[in-house]
Symmetry: C2
Subunit: 246 residues, 2 copies
Amino acid sequence: MREAASGQDVTGQAASRGLSKAQVIAQEVRRRIVDREWRQGDRIPDEAELAVEFGVARATVNKALQLVAEEGLLDRRRRAGTHVTVNPIRKATFSIPIVREQVEQLGMEYGHRLVAKRMAPLPADIATRMDLPQGQVLIHLRNVHLGDGRPFQTEERWINPETVPGIAEVDFRKANANEWLVRNAPYTHAELTFSAENASHRDARLLDTRKGQALLIVHRLTWNDLGPITFVRLAFHPGYSMSTAH
Amino acid sequence: MREAASGQDVTGQAASRGLSKAQVIAQEVRRRIVDREWRQGDRIPDEAELAVEFGVARATVNKALQLVAEEGLLDRRRRAGTHVTVNPIRKATFSIPIVREQVEQLGMEYGHRLVAKRMAPLPADIATRMDLPQGQVLIHLRNVHLGDGRPFQTEERWINPETVPGIAEVDFRKANANEWLVRNAPYTHAELTFSAENASHRDARLLDTRKGQALLIVHRLTWNDLGPITFVRLAFHPGYSMSTAH
DNA sequence: TAGTGGTCTAGACCACATC
DNA sequence: ATGTGGTCTAGACCACTAC
């Protein structure tokens, strides 16, 4: 097989760039897909065959293919083999920001203001989202995050004390809820929802803008193994935009 | 060590639920972090030690810890060891939708309308985003996606023919650009940016809504190994929201 | 310079879905 | 039934970097 030699060449070359063999193979696999040597729906050679071609152990090919499959370019099934995905990769990673860090990275001084704090029964719509019984009593907070004293983002938050031991003792006038939770209540799963709303009276007042202004709204839910931790609705100042990481 | 026995128990139990050893260990590691047995900033036992505790090979522990590290709960550095992340997981996966599928999943009939197609030089701001020279000539499209005949989403798109062989021959009145690209130009990297805008005259007209209405705007850039493929600005109908997968 | 994670290997066994 | 990917192992060597 002619490929055996050329495959090894590719591996050898790029290894000098500090990539692992698996990464080099993954790259070569991506190239073959992008260049349409392997077309959408095609079955590609099996792991054992590729291992011979690239001159590596099957486990190494396995790792490489799992990488590419995770990105969405390959579908892998036992016995059926590995196929080029028909509707390729549709994933992007999202980095959930810490507000204080964001503000400071923009060169502004961070501040925050606690608008309201109370224990309150869950409204029906939010109970549904959090998968908790309606009427269950959670901590309810309203906050404004400030940059150089001007409103940056409003935050309406519900916290489930059952999944966050120690939360009852926190003084949210001093400690920012966002940051306290991040540091003390690690989550294992998050869900984000993006939408746009014309600023309500309340939003306009809190964000120091006019009613009707288009605002980016983010709803965020976090969970750990014990259940839902917190649900938060964020409203950003006009003109703000939020990007996937890199 | 007492842990040796208990660790093996955990592994054995959950294996019956169809999880691999590595996944079971990852789960146990997450539990220890969430339950604060291992606190933020703590250094956790090294791989060899955990391998003994759980009664598995070091490679299996390695895989488990890499999983958890990828989620953001652990920081791993050679020689320094593995530490519980101070600012834990901040990632969420985003699934990039295919408009036709979205519309059809809502039980509506999909349609699309090509508003404009031309070759045009890149404006400065978009050239910067795409990392291409200003004035380079790309394909420029305006589209409206319809659900049951009503506007669902507008799309303004720039396509780089250099990274998409075969694009010149496509008739975009018949083939939807979104779908043609997805099926024929696999990308390896994507970037999404979310913002909100008050509907301009043009947006309002295309989306059949009133000027000033808050719209969710998504900018999306995709690349393959050859360079940028396409830049697109999406404006959604009022009330639309977009969520992370799962 | 020594301890830690990163990677690779050869071999093995298994689970599963397709043929 | 059987070929394919999924996983695990024991051992090895390497690449970092904190000490």
